[in-house]
């Protein structure tokens, strides 16, 4: 620590020379007095240095807290992140629900098909073994016709339900995008914390973080209700907007 100005150093050198001479002369009392003076001078300098560092650290901390990005992280982004994650939870629940409903509707259809097919198969067996009367066969024939019609309908309903299960998986892509965005926020908070650790360790001033201006065209993932603004509310509004522009 050699930030003392020229005259101060000279003052020290003079005092040390005088002190050395006083000791050589054997004047203990005077030597002690001069030593005390030197010591208190040194202490004053130390206190001044400490005061300067404390002030610097305090100011660095102040600017860190007042930095707009930090403030907005706490006030805006964290609540946003919470909303986004809550939305992810509700999306996955909705999707599971949709899938299970489709399955629950499909099971009885399959069971009914199985049962009727089994019953008809038995009677068809009787027919092929020539154990059936013409009247009975006419009745069987009618019921076979009905069965074939219903299988056709059932197959359509099953296909629709399976497609519903397929579409219900779309949550994975959408929740993935939302979570990715929250991870970006976590990364930012992490680097801010690292910065805070750094300044508290060295007492140096913090570089001002650049304020993130919102780029309205940059990708931001699925809109979360209550968090994201300026979005359209579904395919119909997209179509309206495009046709109003002449597309």
């Amino acid at each position: 620590m050699t930030n003392e100005t020229g005259p101060l150093s000279e003052d020290y050198i003079d005092r040390v020379r005088t002190l050395a001479q006083t000791i050589e002369l054997g004047d203990t009392a005077e030597a002690t007095r001069q030593l005390d003076e030197l010591t208190s001078l040194r202490e004053k300098t130390l206190y001044q240095e400490l005061g300067r560092l404390t002030r610097e650290f305090h100011e660095a901390l102040q600017s860190f807290r007042l930095d707009s990005r930090i403030a907005s992280l706490a006030a805006q982004d964290f609540p946003d992140a919470r909303e986004r994650l809550n939305y992810v939870v509700s999306m996955t629940a909705q999707s599971a629900d949709r899938t299970m409903t489709a399955v629950e509707e499909s099971m009885p259809i399959c069971e009914s098909m199985e049962e009727r097919a089994a019953a008809l198969k038995q009677e068809w067996g009787r027919f092929t073994q020539r154990k059936m009367s013409p009247d009975e066969f006419r009745d069987l024939s009618r019921r076979l016709g009905e069965f074939l019609d219903s299988v056709s309908d059932d197959a359509l309903r099953l296909r629709a339900n399976l497609q519903e299960v397929l579409m219900a998986q779309d949550f994975q892509d959408l929740t993935g995008q939302i979570i990715h965005r929250v991870v970006q926020l976590v990364d930012e908070v992490e680097s801010n914390l690292v910065e805070l650790i750094r300044i508290s360790g060295q007492g140096l001033a913090v570089e001002n973080q650049e304020e993130k201006k919102e780029d309205r065209i940059a990708a931001s993932g699925p809109p979360v209700p209550g968090v994201d603004t300026g979005t359209v509310a579904g395919q119909d509004e997209v179509d309206d907007l495009l046709s109003s522009l002449g597309f």
């Binding site: 397929l166 579409m167 779309d170 065209i217 990708a219 931001s220």
Partner: protein, 130 residues
Amino acid sequence: MNKNIKILIVDDFSTMRRIIKNLLRDLGFTNTAEADDGTTALPMLQSGNFELLVTDWNMPGMQGIDLLRAVRADPKLAHLPVLMVTAEQKKEQIIEAAKAGVNGYIVKPFTAATLKEKLEKIFERIEASQ
């Protein structure tokens, strides 16, 4: 509608690529290929004979909007029909895509019926202009 056309599906989430592939299959389009980003999609488009591009917007390497611009800027690909299927739905984004020359814009989550409708519209326009 020629159902044998070669279609490229681009999305960084494999689940979504699979959903779109299955929906196209249900509509009779079985000649599909996949890419997981704009960066991998572009060379595929340049060397393949694709007649339709279905792409997401939000992708890590090259975004869908940039892929669209690259396609329109390439003389060999400039007339390729492009359908965007994306969660991005800010008004500015939809307008930007329209200005960049997108042929259809579907927002997620979407229904099978919407995909069918938009595809039919694209092909109608193509046939009308031929």
